[in-house]
Amino acid sequence: MLELTPELLGNYLASSLPGAKEVEVRDMSRLPLGASRETYRFDARVVKFDGTEESLRLILRRDPPASHVDSDRRTEFESYRAIYGHGIPVPRMILLENDPAKLGGAISIAEDLRGFHNSEYQLQEAAWAKHLPGLARQMWGYMGKLAAVDVAKLNLETFMKPATVQNAARRQLDYWVETFRRNQVGADPIMEAAIRLLDRTCPIAKKLAMVHGDFRAGNFLYDDGGEIRAILDWEMAHIGDPLEDLAWSINRVFSFGKDDRRSGLAPRHEAIAIWEQASGIKAQADALAWYELFACLKGQALWVSTATVWETGKNRDIILAYASWWLTNAQNRAALEIMGRL
């Protein structure tokens, strides 16, 4: 894969940033964020044709040669732009490059919100305990707010597949069943039982919303005072049932404190209550249970995909091997619990 160097990046930015004559890239480093895309932080000194200079702090995300997430760089970029200004904190998008030939993969560049934390495991340290109730209110509060945004006003269908209240669940189910089966590593009778149950009981959505697709602790920035500064990682965003985000966030495999606090922040019933108040939507028990089991299937599809990417040697980032190893069985335990069989 093409090595991203400061020189390469600087030359590219000089030809791509509006008004830029020269760009010097400094202090570039790769960040340990997620498994689906490479993330780099850097400073850019931009000398413009009008003689002015600008210093920018930027984050670059690049598609690797192989990933377990079939997301479109454009979808993530446009998702950020669509939701910007609707009461959910997100970084400002700067540039999108879809041509993989230029920088070794499609890339997006955004403002870098520095000095904040994103680790979900750091939140389990004793020093952060006092911030967890506030973070829970904010995380599920923003999630509820997202659910309440009028999806018709976001023009999502210019870059997202459309959905209806009738087919929202079915479309997602079909997609993730296919993804799971395509990447399956060995027989999985628990997940197959879950698929049969999901197939028999597909719900009709009460409303459509912009669904983040991976809304949980670990995908937001927070400051030393326990304030959420930005919601990140919108690459799986789509139009769908807002219950999907709630169910995903309370997936047992995201219990980072290894106890009953979902996303390592709050118990399940508290998470639901915060979301309901913020969204104005009552989470119907059977529909939410469906999406919780669906979250297990979607999770399992992602975890076996990481295993496949690792085993084929397409991407040797250690997180792919590490995460897929423990997550696949934990996800099956979670599925058994939701089916009342643990």
Binding site: P32, P189, I190, R196, K258, I318, W326, A330
Partner: protein
């Protein structure tokens, strides 16, 4: 030794965690596979007279009669995978039947699936 930070430090931390996972799995690897393969075979033997599909019944009978003689992990895994694939088919079939015997087999399958996740449980997992 250089002081690591950021991406490199994170990668090394994960490698360290994986070594712990390997150590946990090392001693039990063959034992749980042998136990599970035997448990699934016993379940299949009991299900043979209950399933409505003759082809499935023949397959279950054939698989139930096998014994793990080669205890290399690769061979145990091959047998385990074949057994779990057949277990999936058995479960899908038995779910559709309403006889007391079928319900008993169904409950046995769920019990075995619960035991299967405990055999594979990773100590550092979140759940």
């Amino acid at each position: 030794m250089p002081q690591l930070a950021g991406f490199d430090a994170n990668s090394v931390a994960m490698m360290s965690a994986m070594l712990k996972m390997v150590a946990e799995e090392w001693d039990r690897s063959a034992a749980w596979r042998v136990e599970e393969n035997a448990a699934i075979r016993a379940l299949m033997k009991a299900a043979v007279p209950v399933v409505a599909d003759g082809g499935l019944a023949s397959r279950l009978e054939r698989l139930a009669a096998r014994v793990d003689r080669d205890l290399h992990l690769k061979k145990l895994d091959e047998a385990n995978d074949e057994l779990r694939e057949a277990l999936t088919m058995l479960h899908a079939n038995i779910e559709t039947l309403r006889t007391p015997a079928a319900k008993q087999v169904n409950e046995s399958i769920w019990t075995e699936l619960r035991r299967s996740v405990e055999r594979r449980r990773v100590g550092l997992a979140n759940f």
